[in-house]
């Protein structure tokens, strides 16, 4: 595999290989010396066209743990609009002779565009509303850690599905396993046409009460302006996951969130800080998972 552009493009077997490799790296991260010399002498560049702290930090740490030399190239989209095209930026970076390009971009398909135009290994760190594959992989890794498996699970994804690359990557990943998925949220934020293994619920309680895993998505304030929701307050009132959910959730159901979470919008503190929440575990697992992805990619020879 040269690139990780999306979960759409990879097989169940490849996903399992990444998860198994991540398990080995997680063990490394518990050691006193957390660095392995595996990729010493190689270079990674984190090419971020959208502001991001968490994902970039997680990738940077993963790269450093693998002994890669790391460059950070942050470009605000506006300066790109003024001048250089993505193609030209890519060719410039290629001239540095880098081995790995981690890209985040506001355009869906941007990671594929980059992957198609460079011999370097490309990892999608989020492209528009298309995919965020390493997030789905670390989510899967975290679920398997707690539940021991993915097959047979019921997963509810709650929130702004249509604008979420996290939701899409999770949908594609979970669909490669024997899972039942429910999208929960206001009709304005859910797709109208869904694959057959997905059901839709506008009712939070009905949508999550049988779930083994409840994934929450971040709600952005600008959704109010686009008339998707009347207010964040109303969203929390109807679809926010609050303490009362303990009364109807399955006993062993877990709650996840890709971060950064908005307390009082999609989740209450009661839930976020409860033992049901594996949100911080997700953050820890992000590093091992990203190490595994980088480690398993191989550059195209030119």
């Amino acid at each position: 595999m040269k690139d990780l552009v999306g979960i759409k493009e990879i097989s169940r077997q490849e996903i399992e290989e990444i998860l198994n490799t991540a398990r080995a790296f997680k063990e490394v991260l518990t050691r006193d010396i957390k660095k392995v010399p595996t990729l010493r002498g190689k270079t990674a560049i984190n090419l971020f066209f959208e502001p991001s702290t968490r994902t970039r930090t997680s990738f940077e740490l993963a790269e450093k743990r693998l002994s890669l030399d790391v460059l950070n190239f942050s470009v605000s989209t506006s300066s790109v609009v003024k001048g250089e095209t993505l193609y030209d930026t890519l060719k410039t970076i290629e001239s540095y002779n880098v081995d790995y390009i981690v890209i985040r971009h506001s355009a869906s398909g941007a990671a594929k565009f980059v992957a198609d135009n460079t011999p370097a290994c490309v990892i999608n760190a989020g492209d528009g509303t298309n995919e965020h594959p390493t997030q789905a992989l670390l989510d899967a890794f975290s679920i398997v850690e707690v539940k021991g498996k993915l097959d047979g699970l019921k997963i509810a994804i709650v929130g702004d599905i249509i604008h979420s690359r996290v939701a899409r990557s999770n949908l594609y990943l979970l669909s490669k396993f024997d899972t039942e998925i429910t999208f929960v949220g206001p009709p304005t934020l859910l797709p109208s046409d869904v694959p057959s293994n997905v059901s839709i619920s506008y009712d939070l309680k009905k949508g999550i009460k049988d779930a083994d895993v409840v994934m929450l998505l971040r709600i952005q304030l600008e959704r109010q302006k686009g008339a998707f929701i009347p207010s964040l307050k109303e969203y929390f009132h109807v679809w926010g996951l609050k303490g009362d959910a303990f009364s109807y959730l399955k006993k062993d159901a877990i709650v996840m969130h890709p971060g950064p979470m908005n307390r009082g919008v999609e989740i209450s503190s009661e839930i976020a800080d409860s033992p049901r929440s594996i949100i911080l575990r997700q953050v820890t697992n992000g590093i091992a998972t990203r190490m595994a992805v980088i480690y398993l990619l191989t550059r195209r020879e030119v």
Binding site: T85, L86, S108, G109, K112, F113, T129, I162, P191, D193
Partner: protein, 437 residues
């Protein structure tokens, strides 16, 4: 030079004639049409010493030169995408001898000077007839009407703010009313900009899977409904451009049943492709209105058959390579269509959806009527304006061979059937029979 074409099958909706004929062209004029089969030697064609070219067209077809009522020639202002010279060359190689160019040039064709410029360029460098389409509003801004009467006098045959639809319904109503005095139709690109805002492909399952913002079908249909109502109340003709949805067809069908002055066109990509062509972020399949679903495509074919759709136009929209070699949402909209339109349309005949006569009507006499362009068809003592087509000719699309500067086609590498071998346009004679594929 004298050219004699022997034993071609002529289909001419202008004169309402069809059959085997031999046609003689001298100095750009049809001097003789002899109906009925003539015995002739085996030779494919020969050039006599006396400067007479004879073409044995047995098994070939003659149609009047095709008319494309919806093209973008990009000149003036965007000569890196296309010029009048290259665009008309593309027209000729696709069998079009008359093309109408949209007003979204720079400067916009909203005043007679631009119209004169386009026509002068077309006379100097063009290979075929060019009829400009003027802007409905100054600067395509949707605010004030452009000087339609003067544009008409300068040579514009219709008015359209194509691509920049007139959102203000009152302005559209005034434009329709005013156009009645001018005698040229308004062509409407139907798109509710609020509903389509930010969209880059058809809205549906596919757009969700690609993470691309969709353009719902309602964005088109809401405006088709509006424009039909405005046409009804103003009693002014309206022509609906590039119809892409089943819902729009239902609205147009109802309007026609009410005998409203409504006509409509579609383009080859809407009856050939669906949104699936976009998969993999193929920017060459990015077009506005977007490619829709199987259901819409079938409805369009049916509507062509039932003559709810009167015209097949190309919406030839050439772009520079760099404008398509970007992430999908940043890519320009449009397909370079002149050189594939006829072959793609002939597939409708092969598939039994249209008969040949019906297809040729949609590519010749129907647009001529809507635009009131006087064309005589194949008649003795009139200008030679026709094409010779081999319906069975198999060829493979190679965008690098396009005469158009716009290589943006989703049909690159497709195997098509039917090709123009010769185009006659007045004294100009184009021989494309030797081109290899």
């Amino acid at each position: 030079m004298k050219i004699i074409i022997h034993n071609a099958w002529v289909v001419d909706p202008f004169t309402d004639k069809e059959g085997v004929a031999s046609i003689t062209v001298e100095e750009g004029i049809i001097t003789k049409i002899q109906w009925g089969k003539k015995e002739k030697g085996e030779k494919k064609h020969k050039k006599n010493s006396s400067n007479i070219l004879e073409i044995n067209a047995h098994g070939l077809y003659i149609f009047p030169g095709l008319i494309d009522m919806h093209a973008h020639l990009r000149e003036p202002g965007f000569e890196h995408k296309e010029t009048i010279r290259t665009g008309t060359k593309a027209a000729i190689s696709g069998g079009f001898t008359t093309i109408c160019c949209m007003a979204n040039t720079n400067p916009v064709n909203d005043n007679p000077e631009v119209t004169y410029y386009i026509l002068a360029k077309a006379r100097e460098e063009g290979c075929c007839d060019v009829y400009p389409i003027g802007a409905i509003t100054k600067g395509l801004k949707g605010e004030e009407l452009s000087e339609m009467a003067m544009l008409r006098e300068a040579g514009c045959v219709a008015f359209s703010d194509d691509g920049m639809p007139v959102t203000n319904s009152l302005i559209m109503k005034r434009a329709l009313e005013y156009s009645k005095a001018i005698g040229s139709p308004i062509i409407s690109h139907c798109e509710d900009l609020a509903l389509s805002e930010g969209g880059v492909m058809n809205e549906g399952k596919m757009s969700f899977l690609l993470g691309l913002k969709g353009i719902p079908r309602e964005a088109e249909e809401v405006m088709v409904a509006r424009d039909i109502l405005l046409s009804k109340y103003t009693k002014a003709p309206i022509h609906i451009a590039h119809v892409s949805t089943k819902g729009a067809i239902e609205l147009i069908k109802r309007a026609k049943e009410e005998n409203l002055p409504v006509t409509a066109e579609t383009c080859p990509h809407y009856f050939t492709l669906t949104e699936k062509a976009v998969d993999g972020y193929k920017t060459d399949a990015k077009v506005n209105p977007p490619l829709r679903t199987e259901e819409d495509m079938e409805a369009i074919k049916e509507a062509l058959k039932e003559d709810i759709l009167d015209v097949i136009a190309t919406d030839h929209a050439p772009h520079h390579e760099g404008e398509k070699k970007v992430p999908f949402q940043e890519a320009a909209n449009g397909i370079s269509g002149l050189e594939t339109a006829l072959s793609l349309s002939l597939k409708l005949v092969k598939d039994g959806i249209l008969n040949l006569r019906q297809l040729i009507e949609k590519l010749t006499v129907n647009p001529a009527k809507i635009l009131k362009i006087s064309k005589k068809g194949l008649k003795e003592n009139s200008e030679a304006d026709f094409i010779i087509v081999d319906l069975g000719y198999k060829w493979k699309v190679n965008k690098k061979d396009f005469a158009s500067l716009g290589k943006n086609t989703p049909f690159d590498g497709w195997n098509l059937e039917g090709k123009v071998l010769y185009t006659f346009k007045g004294k100009k004679f184009f021989d494309m029979s030797g081109e290899k594929n």
